[in-house]
């Protein structure tokens, strides 16, 4: 496996891999997102308690789940980078941070917009909302630390350490429901043996979840390409790439 994996530690090969993967993530991701949200918005049955407001679930739950998984993925990438000295792993990590922050913001925003009709206020200091907010702070901290360094090599390592420190908080976020019982409803789709959601409602949710996951992967790959270019500025292959991508209109 190492023989197969090792070439991708080289930036140029990693860049090629990103270019190959991007369309396979982006377009199916957008398609699944569209199908999932349209199905959820128009065709899923109404919730007998919450009426049509429950349809926010089709964006809220996928973003809430994936905001945490993206952070864990970031920490795994950081660990790989630190243990095996992979420069590309740090690039993958920092590529995930902004998209993770955006997904966390979406989870928070939709949570607030769902809370208003259900709980009567935009914001409650409920355990899961609060931990989601902390997660957003953790993302912003990693991004800020990365931005503070001139040397991006050093910045990647530093941000990686911070991501690993923050990941200790993710289990606390996940189990916070049990730790501080508050008015947030229990987890909806993690209990597969006895689902508390009708299958007609569940399917579009799973499709939206898959779509958002693919979308995050696509953006990660896009941003990773940027990171690779940023660090390989002076290499000839970047020059060729720029010439090909921008056209040789005023070539040197």
């Amino acid at each position: 496996m190492w023989k197969w994996l090792h070439p991708y530690a080289k930036p140029e090969r990693a860049y090629q891999l990103c270019v190959t993967l991007q369309p396979y993530f982006l377009w199916p991701g957008i398609l699944c997102l569209l199908v999932g949200s349209l199905w959820g918005l128009a065709f899923a049955p109404q919730d007998y308690q919450q009426g049509d407001s429950f349809r926010i679930i089709y964006i809220h739950v996928p973003s809430a789940i994936l905001s945490m998984s993206t952070y864990v993925a970031m920490a795994v990438a950081a660990l790989v980078g630190i243990v095996w000295q992979w420069r590309t792993a740090f690039m993958a990590m920092i590529a995930m941070a902004p998209v993770g922050a955006v997904i966390t913001f979406i989870a928070l925003f939709t949570g607030a917009a769902w809370g208003k009709p259900m709980w009567g206020t935009w914001w409650v200091w409920d355990a899961r909302l609060t931990s989601e907010l902390i997660l957003l702070f953790l993302y912003l901290g990693v991004i800020a630390l990365y931005g503070a360094f001139e040397d991006k090599q050093q910045a990647g390592k530093a941000a990686g350490v911070m991501a690993l420190v923050g990941v200790v908080n993710v289990p606390i976020i996940h189990y916070s429901v049990e730790w501080w019982n508050t008015l947030h409803q229990g987890a909806t789709i993690s209990k597969f043996d006895k689902p508390s959601i009708a299958p007609e409602m569940l399917w579009p949710l799973l499709i939206a979840l898959l779509g958002l996951a693919l979308f995050i992967a696509a953006v990660t790959v896009m941003r990773m390409k940027n990171e690779i270019i940023r660090r390989e500025y002076h290499r000839p292959w970047v020059k060729d790439l720029a010439a090909r991508a921008l056209g040789d209109d005023h070539a040197v």
Binding site: I82, I134, F137, L138, L140, G141, A144, L145, A148, F149, D151, Q154, K157, A158, V161, M162, L164, V165, G166, V168, N169, I172, W180
Partner: protein
């Protein structure tokens, strides 16, 4: 190995006590922040008792953030950190000893100070005992985890605010469990569970933080 560790311990203690004013400033800051709360919220004894544990812990975290930067700053800029790294000794052990010194000079006085704070905020004796226990278990955690971020930001020119941005979210679980322990004590409920969780976090930090600090210092030293 032992002579170096001993030497660093003695040197850092001597340095800390020679800069007494710098040592006392965070404590004065803590005292003043605590004073602001009764002035801002009102001196009602019931209110103060209700917010007291949270106020003391928040003030402790904020004042620790102010003092935290000192942990590696001087050693970094005068080059002794580089010498430690070149000495061939375990950087993790050196980091651990520096964190210990930092705890002794900046948090131990705070723990000793806490009866006064408890008095100011009208805490009962039960609450005070719980507060003391959470401070004893929690402040080493602040030092250990804080040192990682200090190690990362020590090379940056303006790392102060960034340090706070990095650390405040990480300290939130500690704040929650510590204040919930004191609140339970106020209601005469057992609070061993919260203490156990803080203790577990401390054990985890003690086992892993020195290595993380060593790595962070290496990254900063580049």
């Amino acid at each position: 190995m032992n002579t170096l560790i001993n030497g660093i311990f003695k040197r850092d203690m001597a340095l800390a006590f020679r800069q007494r004013s710098e040592l006392a400033q965070p404590l004065m800051f803590l005292l003043m922040v605590i004073t602001l709360f009764p002035l801002g919220i009102g001196p009602g004894p019931v209110t103060l008792q209700k917010i007291g544990p949270g106020v003391i812990w928040i003030a402790a975290i904020l004042s620790s953030l102010l003092a935290m930067e000192r942990l590696f700053r001087d050693d970094f800029w005068d080059g002794s950190l580089e010498q430690y790294m070149l000495s061939g000794q375990s950087v993790a052990a050196i980091a651990a000893i520096k964190v210990l010194v930092h705890w002794l000079v900046s948090f131990l006085p705070l723990v000793l100070f806490s009866p006064l704070l408890a008095l100011f905020l009208n805490l009962t004796v039960d609450m005070y005992v719980a507060l003391m226990l959470t401070l004893v278990l929690g402040t080493p955690l602040l030092s250990l985890v804080g040192a990682i971020a200090v190690g990362l930001t020590v090379g940056l020119q303006r790392g102060g605010v960034l340090l706070a941005l990095l650390l405040i979210p990480v300290f939130i679980p500690l704040l929650i469990f510590a204040t919930s322990a004191v609140d339970s004590a106020a209601l005469q409920l057992p609070y061993r569970a919260q203490l156990a969780i803080i203790g577990a976090m401390l054990m985890l930090a003690m086992a892993t933080a020195p290595f993380a600090i060593a790595y962070a210092l290496k990254v900063s030293q580049n």
